[in-house]
Amino acid sequence: MICYLFPAPTYFFFSPDVPAILYYAQIPATLIALLMGFYIFWNGKHLLLNRLLFSISVLFSLWTITTLIAWTNIHSDFIMFIWSFFSLILGLISIFCTYFIYVFLEKKSVSARIKTIFLILLAPLLFFAATPFNLRGFNLTNCDAFDFESTVFKTYGTSLGLLAMVWILVLLIRKYRIANADFKKQIVLMGIGIELFLFSFFGMEFLATYLTKIGLLPDSQLELYGLFGMVIFMIYIIILIVKFGAFNIKLLATQALVWGLVALIGSEFFFAKSRTTQALIGITFAASLVVGYYLIKSVKKEIEQKEIMLKLNIELKQSIKQRESLVHLITHKVKGSFTRTKFLFAGMLDGTFGEISPEIKKRAKQGFDFDEGGIKTVDLVLNVSNMQNGLIKYNMKNLDFKELVEQTISEKRIPIEEKGLKLEAEVKPENYSMVGDPIWLKEVVNNLIENSFKYTKEGKITVGLEKKDNKILFSVKDTGVGITEEDKQNLFKEGGRGAKSVEINVDSTGYGLFTVKLIVEAHKGKVWVDSEGEGKGSQFYVELPTTI
């Protein structure tokens, strides 16, 4: 039979005689629930939790689609057929929500006893759904079956929703008490989401049916407002996925936002009245799809690269740690050997092992010097390693930088002049007091002068000290081999040295200037080099603040 007072729907769902809120409530809620349900299912088909959420979203969509048909269709047979499932779907949603929360909290399926309770609770709805105990007839004038619904049956279906709300609340509270801080947050989010969904969905459904039955409302459109509860639930699910990686899914906030917007724009299409509006919504929908797709793609790529870099960084750190421990082991062993042979040579030189010939004494002196050089190199490498690991503790105190410079100059003057070089000092009369570690700063001054000494065959070395912009500017200028632009890039890096440095200084380790850089930076200063090129000498600068 057909409802003789109502027009037939077009395209099965579209009727001019239904409230506008019908499409606005049904379509976005259904689309979002289905999209999320499929997405979660697709990303973890084997996980029970994902399957249960998918089942809830499908049951919810089944509910919205069947109610939409009941609102718009005018064929009594068909409406009666789908109406007979209303209470059953409500019951299934309640039970699946409870089942879902069990699995969410316990990370495993429920016991056979609980499953049996679920089935027992559903049994009345299953056995009486297709019988006159549920539905006896149809009102052709109003095009509904409210007058012929069994109140007991209907109340039972709805009360399962109430039972689910209480049951879930108890489960959540019990688990919350013993959960860790991170899981507590997840429990709160999930609890708010599912309880809001059940409350709005079942609460509105019950109110709408009850008020319609007693004649206070002309129809049950109030229940449509309850469907927004699903949207809220899905928002909470998205937050859980984005923040906590729930459901074993890596969902980006961008993805969730883009697809949520696309779903909303798409749903607008169904209740746009004019052709122009439909066309505009269609264009916006297509544009948002394309833009959204590329936006997600680019964000995904960026995140993937970030993850790769993070992974590489972890691997690199591990590898550096391994290398450092190896360096420490080797350097200690090498230093130990050098020290032992140094004492042997020292013993030979001071006559501990008796009188030796001058020739052997000369060789012993050479051996002693080689060992001392070796120990210095090992110390340099060890220092660098310790500085990089933060193992060096700087003893910061007030000092006069000028004193350090002058002391080092006086120490270096003799060997420099023995080599035939001139050493000049250009110290401007200023106050050079500052805060720093005198031992390590002296190492800086010593290292730079030593460096110029090694790479200068003839000419002079000029040590400069002045103050510029309330900062100490220390410089060492030489007439040595100079530095190419290419070498400048690597000079202050670990193991970095000029291409020709080994030709001039076979003992070059590439750690001297790197040590200078680490010490200066630890004093919040900076170091750099100027050179006009190969063979044109070079000038090293160190800038240090007077206070740190």
């Binding site: 057909i2 047979d77 007979s84 056979a112 089935l119 299953l126 759904a129 006159p132 007058d147």
Partner: protein, 144 residues
């Protein structure tokens, strides 16, 4: 071994394996009852002559500018379909209970139950204080 494996799998998933077939059976039963057998009642508003009958008073529109009179009829769907086809509009047989109808009842207006009834003049609505007996033509003594 294989039987043990299957029974273990069933025990693990017995909730779904029990529920799914029952839901399908319920679906088949419901389809058969409503779509094939049309085993349900239909109620609708039948025509009514206010000069001779106690009619309900209805409005054609929200502002109630046009009124009409009706009785409440409940019949077994297959009977109505047999008599009128899918649409009861302009079907005289739908307004009366026939002897061969399996179930049929016609409810007239009863002011005692606060129904809005038409007077015998038929053009004004009243809620008389005097009790009017319910007039039901119930062939099978079933009053919905």
């Amino acid at each position: 071994m294989e039987i043990k494996k299957i029974s273990g799998h069933f025990r693990e998933h017995f909730f779904f394996y029990t529920l799914a077939p029952i839901v399908i059976v319920v679906g088949v039963f419901s389809f058969y009852r409503f779509m094939v057998n049309h085993d349900y009642l239909v109620s609708y508003e039948g025509s009514c002559g206010p000069s001779a009958e106690k009619c309900f008073l209805g409005c054609e529109d929200d502002a109630c500018t046009t009124e009409y009179y009706y009785t409440k009829i409940v019949k077994y769907e297959p009977d109505v379909y047999k008599e009128c086809g899918p649409d009861i509009t302009d079907c005289e047989a739908a307004n009366t209970c026939l002897p061969e109808d399996k179930e049929c009842s016609i409810t007239y207006c009863n002011p005692e139950t606060s129904d809005t009834c038409a007077t015998t003049q038929g053009n004004e609505q009243t809620k008389p204080t005097e009790a009017e007996p319910l007039q039901t033509n119930d062939i099978n003594n079933s009053n919905i």
